[in-house]
Amino acid sequence: MTTTDSELTPKTPKLGEEILSVTGLVKHFPIRKGVLQRQVGAVQAVDGLTFNVTRGETLSLVGESGCGKTTTGRLLTRLETPTDGKIVFEGRDISHLGEGRMRPLRRDVQMIFQDPYGSLNPRHTVGKIVGAPFRLQHVKTEHGVKKAVQELLELVGLSPEHYNRYPHEFSGGQRQRIGIARTLALRPKLIVADEPVSALDVSIQAQVVNLLEDLQEEFDLTYVMIAHDLSVVRHVSDRVAVMYLGKIVELADRVDLYEKPMHPYTVALLSAVPVPDTKRKKKQERIRLQGDVPSPINPPPACRFHTRCWKAQDICKSVEPPLVELAPGHQTACHFPENQPTDTPAATADQPKS
């Protein structure tokens, strides 16, 4: 439908090859005070992330609010400029590209937003919203923009007749589909989806999750999914990165992470998920974390989780554990990891039944 694919194809990595690599990514938001607006501190939203994403996979970033997952998403799409570190997309360093140089790349890197109410302009028709990428990028379509938009609407499960309607005429789930249609307009390669289903009702959530999976299969899309719902994450992801206070504490294959979590924080997160099974109620195998996530303005030294960790010892307060690969493809940043390869896997909450 678009002309963009052909000219960029030579650079496009094959399925399973690296499409995005992030090294030492840092984002600090300065806090300024006083008449002179002197910097008195910084919110250390993202503090040294290193990971890569291969084409066709879904990598999920999970963590509690304030852990920096949304900031990471905005850095990857370059809606924010990193304080430090490198973002390489298809072999090209995009970490400090200017607005103008970044614009052509926006065809390839797109974002799905969390709030289907805030992310669509209420004064624009669906046609104008979904057609915007074509206009902004000056993309010529074979049968005109309207035809292209109607095809996109059908693709995401809406009707082509919706072209002239306004966002307020749609339900939350349908709006999210409009947002997805806009995201897909220019056939991006990488989609950063920031909590794409968390604002939706359960029955609608399943529809959108299935749609995202279908689209991924059809167009070989690569997703970086930002989410806090661990059940949804398990369903959609190939790999999962768990974040805590601006750092990745564990990064592993979906199966490994859910069956043999190594970082105590991951273990606690998983055990806290309420399970719709009345028989589990009696077991009470939950790990209760104390207190709240500390402020990212003044995070605890060394291992940032030590203030809430039940395994913490002196070393955790003085030496920061590096993110190292303890099992194939399973990276953990902890001095005393659980479920080490030599151990027998402890009985955790997520072991499949039967």
Binding site: S65, S203, S231, A272, V273, P274, R288, D292
Partner: protein, 358 residues
């Protein structure tokens, strides 16, 4: 239509508990909001009973009438906005016919509510302590000092660190989880007999959610309160509820014990909810089974069974789904379902289509 319901109602409404015996007894509650576009039937005939020490979970999607139900019990609908009919007996007293002043006196001591959004439910202008003390002194003739001591105790009880200092903090100085806890402390400060928790953990992170759920459970045990927990998260109700009411478009679709709802659900909507939800405790399924379509507008609820346009089994009922509204009927042992499917068809659909995929 309404006539036939009136005939059915007496035998339908109260089965397990005789008239007035239950601590909270809601009978055929209807809450309608007249608007310019038509009457919004947010709650359209629901009945349930709840005993002290028990927890009822009300589950449903947005617009199914869960919150409107709880606000009617609390008497929090502004006068003149909602048309409320039916009966709500709290320990024998009918709240629907009581005056606003009478209901106001019940709030705090007899019944209390935990709201979803603690930031908007607490007054930003007063300290947290002030707000707890105020409620406590309405119902207890004590001095300010005693009430303040009680407020500190309550904050300590819900796990707020340094309660003696935090009692003088303003709501904005608390984090989300702490604010929610402060609100729970406020709701529980007078040991209410009935506690309604409306999406108490939806805005919270999962680790904090676990703390809050534990807290509600512990406090219920301690005070032997009746608890209604309203949520869209089936995991949360499975943790807390003894009985569950599944709501759809202002009516109860299914009512049963938590075990019945999760192990042998009867209503296709409940099947849909369970199938839509990825399960962290089971083998990962390749695909979720969503419910097609979207919840209906409450101004124009589909005729017959409100769920029929989205139901995969509506065609099995020979047209009854489109024309006749199913009543909530007992299928035995108090497990009630509002569905036209014959027991045979239902059993077959559950065994062959649904159960293997959940």
């Amino acid at each position: 239509m309404t006539d036939s319901e009136d005939l059915i109602r007496p035998q339908d409404s109260v089965q397990r508990v005789e008239r007035g015996e239950a601590f909270l007894d809601v009978r055929d509650l209807r809450v309608h909001f007249p608007t310019d576009d038509g009457v919004v039937k947010s709650v359209d005939g629901i009945s349930f009973q709840l005993e002290r020490g028990k927890t009822l979970g009300i589950v449903g999607e947005s617009g199914s009438g869960k919150s409107v139900t709880s606000l009617s019990i609390m008497g929090l609908h502004p006068p003149g906005v909602a048309r409320i009919s039916g009966q709500i007996f709290l320990d024998g007293q009918d709240l629907v016919t009581s005056s606003r002043e009478e209901v106001r006196l019940l709030r705090g001591k007899r019944m209390a509510m935990i709201f979803q959004d603690p930031l908007s439910a607490m007054h930003p202008f007063y300290t947290v302590g002030h707000q707890i003390i105020e409620a406590y002194r309405v119902h207890n003739q004590v001095s300010k000092q005693v009430a303040r001591k009680h407020a500190i105790e309550m904050l300590d009880r819900v796990g707020i660190p340094q309660p003696d200092r935090r009692v003088d903090a303003y709501p904005h100085q608390f984090s989300g989880g702490m604010r929610q806890r402060a609100m729970i402390a406020m709701a529980l400060s007078c040991d209410p007999d009935l506690l309604i928790a409306d999406e108490p953990t939806t805005a919270l992170d999962v680790t904090v959610q676990a703390q809050i759920l534990d807290l509600i459970r512990d406090l219920q045990r301690e005070f032997n309160s009746a608890v209604i927990i309203i949520t869209h998260d089936l995991g949360v109700v499975a943790e807390l509820a003894d009985d569950i009411q599944v709501m759809y478009a202002g009516r109860a679709a299914e009512y049963g014990t938590a075990e019945e709802i999760f192990d042998e659900p009867q209503h296709p909507y409940t099947w849909g909810l369970l199938g839509s939800m990825p399960r962290i405790d089971r083998e990962r399924s390749e695909r979720l089974i969503p419910i097609m379509g979207a919840p209906p507008s409450l101004i124009n609820v589909p005729t017959g069974c409100a769920f029929n346009p989205r139901c995969n089994y509506a065609h099995l009922n020979g047209g009854a789904s489109e024309t006749e509204r199913p009543e909530l009927l007992d299928t035995g042992n108090g497990h009630k379902v509002a569905c036209h499917l014959s027991p045979k068809n239902r059993q077959q659909a559950w065994e062959t289509d649904i159960k293997p995929k959940l």
